[in-house]
Amino acid sequence: MSESPRWAVLSSIALSLLLAACGGGKPEGAGKGTPVSDVPAYGDAIVEGSIGDVSGFLTAVTTDASSHEAAGYVFNGLVRYDRNLKLEGELAESWEISPDGRKITFHLRKGVKWHDGLPFTSDDVMFTYRRMIDPRTPTAYGEDFKQVKHAAAPDPHTFVVEYARPFAPALASWGMHVLPKHLLENHPDISKSPLNKKPVGSGPYRFVEWKTGEKVVFDVSPDYFEGKPYIARVISRVIPDQATMFLELKSGGVDIMTLTPPQYVRQTETAEFRKSFNKFKYTASGYTYLGFRLSHPFFKDRRVRQAIAHAADKKALIDGVLLGMGQEATGPYKPGTWAFNPDVKKYPHDPGRAKAMLAEAGWKEKGGVLEKDGQPFEFTVLTNAGNDARSKTAAILQQNLAEVGIRMKIRTVEWAAFINEFIDKRKFDAVILGWNITPDPDQFDIWHSSKTGPKELNHVGFANSEVDRLLDEGRSTFDLEQRKKAYFRIQEILAEEQPYVFLYVPEALPVVHHRFRGIAPAPAGITYNFVKWYVPAALQKHKIQP
């Protein structure tokens, strides 16, 4: 959940939103090229820059962002997130939830065809469900599907699942890509099937070729059920280096990529760049935090955690780390979404107040460093190596804490060692890490007191009986108002308790060549309506024979 789209249960379009999302962004420096008739036209190709290569096209068995994004062109789920991050039907036309919340009935779209021409039916959905719970499928996402007590396909266009108890996050799990039964039933291990390398799906684009380490090519699927997409070809080029990708963008080798804050703020503010590209800015679906091991003698005391929150200069962090491309985090949800509570306790930067609170907690200054019972306030913060933003965050926090007499040492550790040797074994004082924020607000795994075992995600050891109860409540009803109430209260408690100091939510900074039109920024980002993007005929760069 931290480094790649771990909650990979949604269709592509929704998934790319996890990377670039939300907040009512607007294009900056909209293309001011020669005036052309702005009429949607079919044709042209878009070249995407991708940091990593695809590792397979069946999202049930892959976990990396590049693979999930690529697969999204070819496959669909039953549901997906719309422009406002609300669930809508994709392969399912509609669905009903029984009054007791235990049964979901999906009504499937009629007339949908797989790319090889065979019809899509509820058999395919049933097959996908069975493969998700099959022990021979090497998937990390089987858990949601194991909650299903009973699944049935009463007719070719209806699919019914029953759960032992109402479980709200379950609905989103049906964003899992539906697999074509007729092409996979003879492959007990789907990861070893040819479809993982040459996918055949029902999505807006058909797979053309995958040159490992180089590129993936898709061509438009003319009979896509939502209408033929305008852009005729999608080419995803693997360019592992961010600086190289930026040069490719400037020289015309790439049409769409995500900028780094320095690129966005400093390297693209020229008239020439504005003429050729449209820059966008949205609140990203993720946040960075300083987490305390709550059993640590220093951090057991809530006043100490609150004091550190006051000592941390979030504004300086956003300016220093993100060049201003972010906003202060106050809790674990994305500002502007329905679950986000804007009215929680805030901790403005105030070293004087922090000192006073620490003094109240028994920490007295001695030679510039705080001391209590003869012990200096000194601890080590851990973060993973190779994440520039987190290292910078640590350095600024170190400075902030020194101001109030706390000596913080910084240690960066390679990711696998960081997780296995320190996080899993709870061998840390404090950590700087980040979470992705999923559209569904269920965060049971992160905050529930039962989730503190090895490999479980409540690694700070947070335990609060009211939060436990509210987490249960929030996930066991489909009633939005009821859920909202539960999650608002959870945020109040978290703000008061400060098991993490919530630091910042960065902005996603995509850039697209100006010839692409029809981009409508929304809370969900820009790629949710990719099939509606087009290039006016006069501006088309690549001549593609459909």
Binding site: K197, T212, E214, E414, A416
Partner: protein, 324 residues
């Protein structure tokens, strides 16, 4: 000689087994494992799904069993299947990366020899001259400049500003539609910058090596004799001195054999070249054990082979060394 070669070849078998055992143990001692990439900090991954994945990859078996299985497969030259989600055979993954890495390495190595040997020889003959000093500064500059930085500067100049060369990748988007000659030209166009830069960075070692060899040889009595005979300087330098100074180069060539298939991660990343360096790096980062073992074994084999070739070549070329 043949018996010597046969004996050396036989010796490589236990050596390879030893190397693979050490690699295998080191790899498993490193923190993390193949399933971590997908399951660490993933709320959807439960203890059960972790156990299931472990069993799927055979990681639940004791280490010696895992190693035994691997060795058994290797005996039939089966490298196994990669642990990455595509599950493709390791041999296939390596095979598709070899041509590009080999091409770049052969070309850049050829470039290095072509430039460095004359530079080294001339610097030695004219030791202390302006040429010697300038070339020394030049080759060390190439050695000292961070490749990734120079590469970016070159990309900005030739790719963005002048638009003469492609910035990255190994082929244009329309590569498939080109004819045979067009394809070749396209590939050459893409490889020009990487090969030149790789060559520039490698000049220092070879030219300095050549220069010191040459200086050594020029001091020898037989060179003095040649000069005393009244031979022209050209003949002295090229016929008598240089040929002898080139002998140790055979060793270098032999030792370069494993480098032919080893790509540089930084270089390949900057230029977006899908070569061996990136493959190995990704394999290590995702703890793709079969892939790591496959590449390490090939590397070990080529190193041993290169050493053998160097020894044999040296023995053939240098009359002072004769095997019994």
């Amino acid at each position: 000689m043949l018996r010597y070669i046969a004996r050396r070849l036989l010796l490589t078998v236990p050596l390879l087994v030893g190397i693979s055992l050490i690699s295998f143990l080191m790899m498993h001692m490193a923190p993390g494992g193949p399933i971590g990439a997908g399951t660490d900090l993933n709320p959807k991954a439960t203890a059960e799904s972790r156990a299931r994945l472990k069993a799927y990859y055979g990681l639940d078996r004791p280490l010696h069993v895992q190693y035994g299985r691997w060795l058994g497969r290797m005996a039939t030259l089966d490298f196994g299947d990669s642990f990455s989600p595509d599950g493709r055979p390791v041999a296939e993954k390596i095979k598709e990366r070899i041509p590009i890495t080999l091409t770049i390495n052969v070309l850049s190595m050829g470039l290095i020899f072509l430039v460095a040997i004359p530079v080294g020889v001339y610097s030695a003959v004219r030791k202390g001259s302006l040429f010697d000093r300038i070339s020394t500064v030049a080759v060390f500059t190439g050695f000292a400049i961070p490749t990734f930085w120079l590469a970016l500067l070159m990309m900005i100049l030739f790719g963005v500003k002048l638009g003469w060369l492609p910035i990255s990748g190994i082929s244009s988007l329309d590569h498939e539609s080109l004819g045979a000659i067009g394809k070749l030209a396209d590939r050459a166009h893409h490889l020009l910058l990487p090969v030149l830069l790789a060559g520039f960075g490698g000049l220092a070692g070879m030219s300095r090596y050549m220069r010191s060899n040459m200086l050594e040889v020029i001091r020898q009595d037989y060179v003095a004799t040649a000069r005393a005979k009244g031979l022209p300087e050209r003949t002295v330098v090229f016929r008598h001195a240089m040929r002898n100074a080139l002998l140790p180069v055979i060793t270098i060539l032999g030792l370069s054999v494993p480098d032919l298939l080893g790509g540089s991660v930084i270089f390949e990343t900057i230029f977006a070249i899908p070569g061996m360096g990136q493959l190995f790096y990704q394999g290590v980062m995702s703890r793709d054990y079969p892939l790591i073992m496959g590449i390490l074994t090939i590397g070990a084999f080529l190193t041993l082979l290169g050493n053998l070739l160097a020894d044999v070549g040296y023995a053939l070329a240098d009359p002072r060394i004769r095997q019994g």
